[in-house]
């Protein structure tokens, strides 16, 4: 009983515990300046995980986010000279469109989301390779600074990247908790058939959820691209696993309906602390994914709502 009541608090308790352990082992971890840099560094991942939250919250998943981000790094780099800051809109539109197509395929053609988004991911990857000619492209430094230089400034001592992340978190939190769309997302995640029988337009809401996921994946790609001042079809590789881990350790289970964007913020910070710990412990970069892979399995097993699975996992 008590364990059930504690469950919603696990994510932040984990975060505090992990941060304390890392901080004791390496007191430099608590240095404010360094910490802010670490947080700023994790912003592209966070934005991607934020989008992923919507797909998982309705009980689906979006495996296309990393490839959408890859595609967007190329798009942003290629079209920066043409559109200036307007390239952000192009990127956002492309990502949203990809997400919406995944949503359409999932709801109207009855293809499970893990297949439809995987397939759309390959479409995006291929588009990125085609557009970039398989080369690493770089942005014109002056153009980049004129259009997006503000992203990396500071406001009142706070990196602007963190402010962008906070604004996005605020918007998505509002969407999730205060709008009919958010309520519908929750209903679909917690009891899809009841949502249908209450007359909700479930297909439409799901398509919107995947569109949001795709749109935020595009923003994530854009921020990352500007940060590294370039684009290529493999730039965002490695994000997908971390984004899923961030959502799940944050406390949004694969079965959906509980958790949400605040949980993902906590989950992303947990990923950040673990990454920092691995750097401190000198875990080789090639082995880090191994640890996150195992962590993912643990997070899924710990958060999944078995009563919803009806005893059958295929």
């Amino acid at each position: 009983m008590n364990l059930e009541r504690l469950k919603p608090h696990f994510p932040w308790l984990t975060l505090v515990a992990l941060a304390t352990v890392v901080g004791i082992a390496n007191p430099a971890f608590f240095d404010i300046g360094g910490l802010l840099l670490l947080v700023a560094d994790v912003v592209p991942l966070f934005v991607m995980a934020l989008g992923m939250t919507f797909a998982i919250y309705i009980g689906g998943i979006d495996l296309s986010v990393q490839q959408i981000a890859n595609m967007v790094t190329v798009l942003a780099t290629v079209f920066l000279s043409q559109f200036g800051i307007g390239v952000a809109l192009v990127c956002l539109a492309a990502g949203t469109l990809f997400g919406a197509i995944s949503g359409y395929v999932t709801t109207r053609l009855y293809v499970p989301s893990f297949v439809s988004t995987l397939a759309m991911g390959f479409v995006a990857l291929s588009a990125a390779k085609w557009l970039s000619g398989q080369r690493a492209l770089s942005m014109d430094a002056q153009l980049r600074n004129e259009s997006f230089g503000w992203m990396f400034g500071k406001t009142l001592g706070l990196p602007n990247e963190i402010i962008i992340a906070a604004v996005l978190l605020g918007i998505t939190w509002f969407l999730q908790t205060r709008t009919p769309l958010g309520r519908a997302l929750k209903a679909i995640g917690a009891g899809e058939l009841a949502a249908v029988a209450s007359g909700l337009d479930v297909d439409r809401v799901k398509i919107i959820a995947f569109a949001i996921s795709g749109g935020l994946a595009a923003l994530s790609g854009l921020i990352f691209s500007v940060k590294l001042s370039g684009g290529d079809a493999n730039l965002a590789n490695g994000f997908l696993l971390l984004a899923i881990v961030a959502v799940l350790v944050g406390g949004t289970p694969l079965t959906g309906g509980v958790g949400g964007v605040l949980n993902t913020a906590v989950g992303t910070l947990i990923v950040m602390v673990i990454r920092a710990a691995m750097v401190y412990l000198e875990v080789d970069a090639t082995r880090q994914q191994m640890i996150f892979g195992i962590l993912l399995i643990i997070a899924i097993a710990a958060t999944i709502d078995r009563s919803k699975l009806r005893g059958v996992v295929k």
Partner: protein
Amino acid sequence: MYELRQVDKHFPGVQALKAVDLTVNRGEIVGLVGENGAGKSTLMKIIYGAYQPDGGGVFIDGRTVRFQNPRQAMEHGIGMVFQEQSLITNLTVMENIFLGCEYGFVRFGVIDWKAMAAAAREQLAKVRLDIDPYTVTSRLGFAQRQMVELAKVLTLEERIDGDLVILLDEPTSVLDRDEVRLLFDLVNELTVRASFIFVSHRIDEVLELSNRIYVMKDGEVVDVVDKESANIDDIQHKMVGRDIDKEYYREQKQKPYENSEALVSLKGVSLDRRFQDVSFDLHPGEVLCFVGTEGSGREAILRTVYGLETPTSGTVTVKNDRVLRFMAKSGVERGVGYVPRERKVEGFVSGMAVYENITLSQMKKYTTAGVLRVASERLLARNWIERLAIKTPDELKDCAGLSGGNQQKVILAKWRSAGSDIILLDHPTRGLDIGAKEDVYEMIREMSDAGVGIILVADTLEEAIGLSHTIIVLKDGHIQKRFDGKPGSKPSLYDLVHHMV
């Protein structure tokens, strides 16, 4: 021969069984009756080994036995015929009968199908079922599946030494009258091979079949009666612990409906093989009830009126508007409310608060500039909690934590607060205790007085007769007969059954 002595079972917060004694003699049929929540299912689970008792003991021929799981119980001759059938429908009949026991037919690592078929025929003969053991189970009717299930349990006879005790959990719920007759004859015949424990909510059936009847209430056996001295009213009284009001179904409150313009009108509507050429009118204040056996098309008609199913032909008119697009969403917009049979799956969203469930179908009304007015949603919920006397600490409580009757009230509050004036009720009292059922009956009368048109698929025929103005009998998707049910001149059970089967 089989005996439970002073069996206790606790769950967090409840004592499900209190010092239960139960004896089954060789060749005896023991009946078990009780309301929902009386402890019948817990007791059965202990008998077939799914639960272990916390106190007391299980004895077979005077020796203590303890089962860790159903398999061990089976090895001691305890078999269970499940209410929700446990056959795997894409396997053949013989594969189902010997599921998990194929080792008896293995020769050099492969299954000898001929030997298995022969053995299966033997088992099927015991239940007098003349079907090919190679038949795929999905092609059998419900009654036949039930028999196969029984045959499966009877394989224990060859596999173990000692006596058999077979539990029958609501075996008649999916059968029609003739099939029930057949089953009863068979069970009586089989008493030479096994003893039976027969659990059903139909007291008349239990009375007919059993030698002795255990009556349970609140986790205790309140009485054991012999067939000769048993009487339905007495048993019912003991189950409930009080007299059932003669006006149980609120017949005295039934008022004639306005024979004005129809709220819902179906003309020659068909849906694939589910129902054909269905026509009827529903008027304001009318309670229209569909009766028929399982699969007679009752639910499909409700779902079509709501918009969850699209008919293949015919016209559906709701409030003088012909329905062209069949979607739940447009059903809701037309003022249709649907209370589905599967309350936990379709009725409400578990994991969402009471107030969120109440406004789920009408969020638009509580939205200003794209933002939900949570305060007014909660106010609405508080009003309805008071109005329908919903037992919940507050409107923020997760709906899944309420009792079945209160969950049903939340679902009704959802539609009534939205002003739905056509309410479709699919088994609204299923799984509710008697008090909660009466609340539902009261609400049906209230809605009817307020001019709401109600289409009902009732849990029992008595309920259908008691509640409705109009009864339409369905058989295999066709309308057989329409009855008017004014208080005092209601059709009898016999009238209905006569047209159902």
